[in-house]
Subunit: 383 residues, 2 copies
């Protein structure tokens, strides 16, 4: 294998882009990434997208976006792993460049959720659950996250309010970013009394769907230094899976795939959790954040929420997370989310994060999750 670096990044603000189509969002992010890298062409395009088929009645995004973004003719295909599609596409791009067979790859995540509204959106999104054993019975992702959160609260004898630190932090960081979908702050004490979505998951807990597109350009590390002033090295890359359904897990409060993929990525990068300067984790629900911190080695079991309570996750904390707002405030453009995480981590490592900057960031961890821990893709980025 050869080492791989990120030499270009691009993104658009996450939000409700009613006036733009999926391909327009994608082309904008692609163009920004090419400009950032100072190049006009790449050898391959791997698209991270989860719900194009059901949101937008549009598959075959590789060829479509390659053409529309002016990259026509190149190798292109999509990678899908539910909401971990972006991270999985990054993994595919990393492996392609590492092989030595593809020199420069654009990994582009895109999602256009506003192509579907109302019940169509619920239906569109539910295809990532188990169709036969979950969706068929009316389960949705928030409803299943609620079961998980309730179990956690029961097991560790906790009140709803203990989760508020995650949402307060995400919105505090999102408020500083022009690319965040939600820029309002959440006041302490308001989380626990927010309107319920699927008890105990409330309006301030679950991340909003959003339209978005983000892109990163990868090439061999040996060339990267000659191409851009600040290449970011991918020093660890790993993916792991767990059962699609919670009811098939012997211990649903332990995210096994988070643990496995994080440990593999740490080992490849030669780091320990304590070496991580910031962590873009998959905060689709606060319970996922708590369980992720536990399984990834940052907290004991049942203690993931403590780091949030003690201000450990803020931009100046021990382990800053969701530094541009995370899924909760930046928004969750499903298949694009994992690529947003990569773009944001690069901005931090390039010291270009502006008001969201984590001082002295040299090692970033990013982790993209599909379902409630069913697919987990972890990367370590370093400068």
């Amino acid at each position: 294998m050869r080492d791989v670096s990120i030499i270009g990044i691009g993104r658009i603000p996450v939000g409700e882009h009613w006036e733009s189509s999926l391909r327009m969002l994608a082309a904008e992010a692609a163009s920004a990434a090419l400009k950032d890298a100072g190049i006009t062409a790449v050898d391959a395009l791997y698209v991270g997208n989860a719900y194009g088929a059901t949101y937008s009645s549009q598959l075959h995004l590789g060829a479509l976006i390659a053409d529309y973004a002016g990259l026509g003719g190149i190798e292109a295909f999509s990678v899908e792993a539910a909401d971990a599609s972006g991270g999985a596409a990054l993994r595919a791009g990393y492996l392609a460049v590492a092989s030595g067979l593809v020199d420069t790859v654009m990994v582009l995540g895109v999602e256009k959720s506003t192509d579907s509204i109302g019940s169509a959106r619920v239906q569109a999104r539910t295809i990532s659950l188990d169709a036969d054993y979950e969706a068929a019975h009316g389960a949705t992702l928030p409803a299943l996250a609620a079961l998980l959160m309730r179990r956690y609260m029961h097991e560790y004898k906790l009140e709803l309010g203990v989760f508020e630190g995650f949402s307060i932090n995400a919105h505090a960081n999102g408020a500083l970013s022009d690319y965040a979908m939600f820029r309002n702050k959440i006041k302490p004490g308001r989380f626990a009394v927010a309107p319920m979505v699927s008890e105990p998951v409330n309006l301030f807990d679950g991340a909003p769907d959003g339209d978005g597109a983000a892109a990163v350009i990868l090439t061999a590390a040996v060339h990267a230094a000659d191409m851009v002033p600040l290449p970011v090295r991918i020093s660890g890359s790993a993916a792991a899976t767990d059962t699609l359904t919670l009811h098939d897990r012997s211990d649903m409060l332990y995210l096994r795939a988070v643990n496995q993929s994080a440990n593999k990525a740490y080992a490849q990068a030669g780091i320990q959790p304590e070496d991580v300067h910031l962590f873009e984790l998959h905060d689709a629900f606060t319970i996922l954040s708590a369980l992720t911190l536990e399984a990834a080695g940052f907290a004991e079991r049942g203690q993931g929420w403590v780091l949030a309570r003690d201000q450990g996750i803020t931009l100046t904390g021990k382990l800053p997370i969701s530094t541009f707002g995370g899924l909760k405030a930046r928004g969750n453009p499903a298949g694009a989310t994992g690529v947003y995480q990569a773009v944001e981590a690069c901005l931090q490592l390039r010291d270009q994060a502006g008001a969201n900057q984590v001082a002295g960031a040299r090692t970033a961890l990013i982790q993209n999750i599909g379902g409630l821990g069913s697919t987990v893709v972890t990367h370590v980025l370093q400068v």
Copy 2:
């Protein structure tokens, strides 16, 4: 990079599997491939699937199938490029093993078309066309193939009957295989009078949708020889794209991506078209077969049909194609088709093709197409 070989193959008969679910079909093919390779685990699973979201309301197949096939915990994701999804998944698996970072990969293609029927199936399949400029106007893939075929007939002043050799050959070969969906032969002269689907594409022209699953297991060539008696080397691998729509092409009778991906694969393998002993091409429509033979270097422009007329494509011909029936008679389980092609080529190269054997086959070309040449993935397999 390191060289990559196929050490295990598995497939199920293509057909209408009303009594089985998508995951059951997938698990059966996975199990057969593991048994063939004489192993019980792999390091990663890449799933080729095109229409799971719309046929079966089921995405997130990587984690789902990894679990259901007893491979739980491993890295897994899906690869999508419309009907070239299987070939694209093979490409992703090849790059992963070539990188040296993943030792053993299962590439599994699966499709369950009978989860949708009637107009739902048309809708399900049309997501691979351009939603804004084709599907929105009522176009379907057979209707667009008909435009292409009509143009070819006009340009080269040909009658419909000249295409019959492709269908006759496919059904003759399918009749010899227990894994083919259609095992009836087509008599000379019947093709030109078959009932029309979308004139001039008729019932004996377009390939049928089918349920199917096929799997291949890849590992480093250096280990393969110690693991199985007959490893098959992947000596060429390439993908290319063209516009999604025909109307965006300056010359719609030239399949540019077929040419580009084939030439790249030939160059990597160090071969010429005349070195190919058999060609599993993407005969979704006879016009695709004719245009493919021309763009891939086996015929002059406008002459692709001649090889079929002159018995050049039969099992004993100069260039046997569709040796197990191709898409036309084996059936086209969309996202699985590219993996069926790989399995069938391996059987030929391992001299295990039975009644379908091409004598002395040492070099096979396989090519999987999404849309009407929009995504093309080509591999050269050799022993």
